[in-house]
């Protein structure tokens, strides 16, 4: 095992990484080397979306990113979405709509929903389902989550129209 030293840009900060090994994935580096425990691992295969982060603005599964290959890219994790104690509108909507039960899938879903609404501000029900199909939730059955997304979309539309 070699002592890798490389620097990742995470949530706007340069973060040196020590003691990694060449094949280590970004999720493990974020959690075990950088102390950013918000992203979760549940499948090691990119099937559940719990580890979702943004790399250069693209939503990806961090468990499938070779950490050392993300050098020079901008990584945004759940910790970078909003300061602790002041949740984003998406985060607050999840809480208000009952879209959180055990919460393990939640950080990855928050990332995916933020990404979805950036690209498609007014998604219909089917679009929401297709774009979030990469995030598995075992507790909620998805109903309250879809409600949360629609509430945010509506609130943002209302804000935009100044109503």
């Amino acid at each position: 095992m070699s002592n890798e030293i490389f620097t990742l840009h995470v949530n706007g900060e340069a973060r040196p990484v020590r003691d990694s090994w060449l094949g280590e994935n970004l999720l493990d580096v974020l959690r075990d080397r950088l102390g950013l425990m918000g992203s979760k691992g549940a499948c090691e295969q990119g099937e559940c979306g719990s580890c979702s982060v943004l790399v250069d603005g693209h939503l990806v599964c961090s468990c499938l990113v070779l950490a050392a290959s993300a050098v020079g890219q901008q990584v945004v994790t759940i910790e970078g979405v909003a300061p602790v104690g002041t949740p984003s509108d998406v985060q607050q909507a999840f809480v208000d709509a009952g879209a959180v039960q055990c919460g393990f899938c939640t950080p990855g879903l928050i990332m995916a929903v933020h990404d979805l609404l950036e690209r498609t501000p007014d998604p219909d029900g089917t679009e929401i389902r297709e774009e979030l199909a990469g995030n598995i939730c075992r507790c909620t059955g998805y109903g309250r989550i879809i409600d949360a997304v629609q509430q945010v979309a509506l609130a943002r539309r209302t804000d935009r129209s100044g109503a």
Partner: protein
């Protein structure tokens, strides 16, 4: 008198019972700061890993640790000979070894564990341990376990439990007879929060503290202490954040292994399972084969039920005995039935061990009896809804165990209210778009674009079920809670302490609601969930709202009595007259109101209560006895679009009316309904652990398929609120019913769709696979 009897001036205030306040851990969860057990660490901790058997049945000839010890960074290795206390554990019988010593009985059985400086070293060291096995013939056919033709694979024998039920006249017959043999595959709980624990040994090594995600802190403690040779009070458990449970955490998994390593080293040890290991590391839903025969009168009234149920418990007993009892005692479903003969076996094989999963035996029985009800309907020329209404149970009716159902039993209301819910307004494929196309995502096959709207047929199916709440067969089922009030400069705060495992279901939301309603104080905090208070029992069997809710209610009522005495002494009224209305203490004799917060200035009350439900009985050799505590009911109607040629399905809508007693937090109830239905959908069409010769073939999320956003339909629900007089808060548990009759409703809808296409597909097995539909 229960809180629901007290008059209130207006509806409940926000945060009290009957409203939907947000969960107290919600912001932490959405911001990623909530600590799950896999997020917990300690300075200087080492990493544990488990070596598992690759064989379903083998004798261990030798274990050679020498190569593993040579790897730099390996700190400790333990095997069976290092277990200081009891060598075996288990929820009902302690038949499961901490580590296999002479025989391994399933693929994945733990043989050794080690601790190393980091997980990579641990993984490499596991590969270096050399175990020599002598492979033995595996017992894989449950019938061989029953017939006695296969030598016992365990000293306790190959039959974990046999139980017969004979009720009424076993020789009764009916003019109409329908029968079938039904198979239910092995479902996995597949919680997302993988198993993880942190064990911190006490200095001196005479005790240990463990942070772990589990369903029952005190039962874990009992088993861990026994295996470590410690007194229970020397094992302190703290609930780590739980990422879902659904039954899989009722048995211990890594707890003793992690503790042994930590105690051996005198240093904290963390263990965490990967998904592949998790599939091996916890119990699963019992696969079952159920033969059933219904006798009925010409109009469809059930006369007699006969059934033979075989549950494959796998290598170790876990809760197989109780699962079987649920299945056979609920074999009649939520229907009146005067006569029954049921034989049930839970057997031991060299398959993966099975135990608790949401529904706990009722799921398997329900698929059988609901499939039968549709056959009965067809044989009598009656519709699926009508056959169920005709036979629907009501309060006072008797199970085939002879036990009267004393709870509210609104089976007919569940059916009628479900029927009243509107069917989906969109046709197959959704509304046609202006360009004449339909959205492929709305068709079965989804993103794969396998069909056009004309290839699809829509069907409707029904399911209705009964589930027993809490534990049965004279189990001493209780819960404990502690309520204290501390006055402060900004007013009083209620502190609640309980050992109730929050696994996502929302007890941490409900408990403060209870306190707010009972005490009239809005600020409620929860103390750490750990073993420093009495047991709350398991978060399972849909029991916590009733049991832990009952305990919190009782503890709060004790404190409330103290408040009343305090107010009575201060203001010269009679404590026994006082009641709480919103945030006031009210004296009805004078109409005087006292603000609760002011009344609590300077007080410090502290009460602990234990809530027990009335005792239940054992059942005799004919399965007769009042062995269950309480019952809840639910109906489901499924609308499913089917591609008959490719066998692909899309569930379009699930409608349901569920008997909830009182909706103490309507949003939480909806969450349980939708989440449970998703698991029922998974069981119906996609979830199954596939074992070949005892080896799991799909122990990963690529091949063990969970329903995605595109698989799960909208749910329309009506809550049937008939407060149950036997429940401490009027509320029944709601977690399990949603996953029980949703499965047969979906399968019935598929059969209905195929029937419309002129195809008679029996679909006697769940999960239904495409070939079951299109290759007949």
């Amino acid at each position: 008198m229960s809180i629901i009897d007290r008059p209130t001036s207006t509806g409940p205030r926000h945060g009290a019972l009957g409203t939907s306040p947000t969960r107290p851990d919600g912001v932490a969860k959405v911001q990623g700061t909530f600590e799950f057990s896999s997020d917990i660490s300690a300075d200087g901790c080492l990493f544990g890993a488990t070596l598992r058997s690759p064989h379903s049945h083998a004798r261990i000839v030798s274990i050679d640790l020498s190569a593993a010890w040579k790897i730099s960074g390996v700190q400790a290795i333990v095997t069976a000979e290092d277990v200081p206390g009891q060598l075996t554990y288990g929820l009902i019988s302690q038949d499961q070894p901490v580590f296999a010593s002479d025989i391994v009985r399933y693929v994945g059985e733990p043989v050794a564990a080690l601790a190393a400086d980091d997980p990579e070293v641990a993984r490499r060291a596991l590969d270096a341990i050399e175990v020599t096995y002598e492979v033995l013939p595996a017992l894989l056919d449950p019938e061989l376990a029953i017939s006695g033709e296969f030598d016992p694979i365990h000293p306790d024998g190959n039959v974990i439990r046999y139980q017969r039920i004979v009720h009424g006249d076993p020789a009764a017959t009916g003019e109409i007879v329908v029968e079938g043999t039904y198979e239910i595959g092995m479902q996995d709980q597949a919680f997302l929060g993988l198993e993880a624990a942190l064990a911190i040994p006490d200095p001196g090594g005479k005790g240990i503290e463990m942070h772990v995600a589990t369903q029952w802190l005190h039962e874990d403690r009992k088993q861990i202490a026994a295996c470590l040779g410690f007194a229970e009070e020397d094992v302190r458990l703290v609930l780590g954040g739980v990422g879902g449970a659904f039954g899989a955490r009722e048995d211990i998994s890594l707890q003793v292994h992690c503790s042994l390593l930590a105690l051996r080293l005198g240093r904290p040890v963390r263990m965490a399972y990967s998904r592949a290991e998790s599939f091996l590391g916890h119990v699963h839903r019992h696969p079952a084969t159920i033969w059933m025969r219904h006798h009925a009168t010409a109009d469809g009234s059930i006369v007699k039920i006969e059934s033979r149920m075989v549950f494959d418990g796998g290598a170790y007993a876990s809760t197989s005995s109780a699962v079987l009892i649920n299945a056979i005692t609920l074999a009649q479903g939520p229907y009146r039935c005067a006569n029954a003969v049921v034989d049930g076996w839970a057997v031991r094989t060299n398959h993966l061990p099975c135990g608790a999963m949401r529904g706990f035996g009722a799921v398997q029985a329900c698929f059988a009896y609901e499939s039968q009800m549709d056959k009965l309907a067809a044989a009598c020329g009656v519709g699926p809804l009508d056959i169920r209404l005709l036979n629907a149970m009501t309060t006072g009716d008797v199970l085939i165990t002879g036990q009267p159902v004393l709870n509210v039993a609104p089976v007919e209301e569940c059916l009628r209210e479900t029927d009243a819910l509107p069917l989906p307004d969109e046709p197959v494929g959704g509304h046609v778009r202006t360009d004449g196309s339909v959205d492929a995502m709305k068709l079965p096959g989804g993103a794969g674009r396998t069909a056009d709207a004309g290839d699809i047929v829509r069907g409707i199916g029904w399911g209705v079920s009964i589930k027993n709440l809490m534990y049965s067969e004279s189990f001493d089922d209780y819960a404990t809670a502690r309520c204290r009030i501390e006055g402060g400069p900004d007013g009083p705060t209620v502190f609640l302490k309980f050992a109730t495992a929050e696994v996502g279901q929302g007890f941490v939301t409900l408990a403060p609601q209870i306190a707010r309603s009972v005490l009239g104080i809005d600020r409620v905090e929860l103390d750490q969930i750990d073993t420093q208070v009495g047991s709350a029992g398991s978060t399972s069997a849909s029991r916590q709202t009733w049991m832990s809710g009952g305990a919190v209610n009782a503890a709060c009522e004790l404190v409330r009595s103290l408040i009343f005495e305090h107010v009575a002494a201060l203001h010269g009224c009679s404590a026994g007259d006082l009641f709480i209305d919103h945030t006031d203490v009210v004296d009805p004799r004078t109409g005087r109101r006292f603000d609760v917060a002011e009344a609590c200035v300077g007080v410090s009350f502290d009460e602990t209560a234990v809530y027990r439900h009335p005792a239940t009985s054992e059942i005799d050799e004919n399965g007769q006895g009042n062995c269950h505590t309480a019952f809840a009911f639910v109906a489901h109607r499924a609308v499913v679009d089917v591609d008959p040629e490719l066998g692909l399905v899309k569930v379009v809508q699930i409608a349901t009316a569920q008997d909830v007693g009182v909706a103490l937090n309507p949003l939480s109830v909806m969450g349980q309904i939708e989440g449970g239905i998703a698991q029922g959908l998974g069981m119906a069409v996609m979830e199954e652990i596939i074992q070949v010769d005892g080896v799991i073939r799909n122990g990963n999320f690529t091949d063990y398929l969970l329903p995605t956003f595109l698989d799960m339909p909208p749910v329309v629900a009506t809550l049937i609120e008939q407060p149950d007089p036997l429940a401490p808060l009027g509320a029944k548990g709601v977690g399990e019913p949603p996953c029980i009759s949703s499965t047969p409703a979906i399968v019935a809808a598929i059969r209905d769709a195929l029937a419309q296409a002129g195809i008679d597909a029996p679909l006697n097995r769940v999960p239904v696979r495409p070939g079951d539909i299109c290759l007949l």
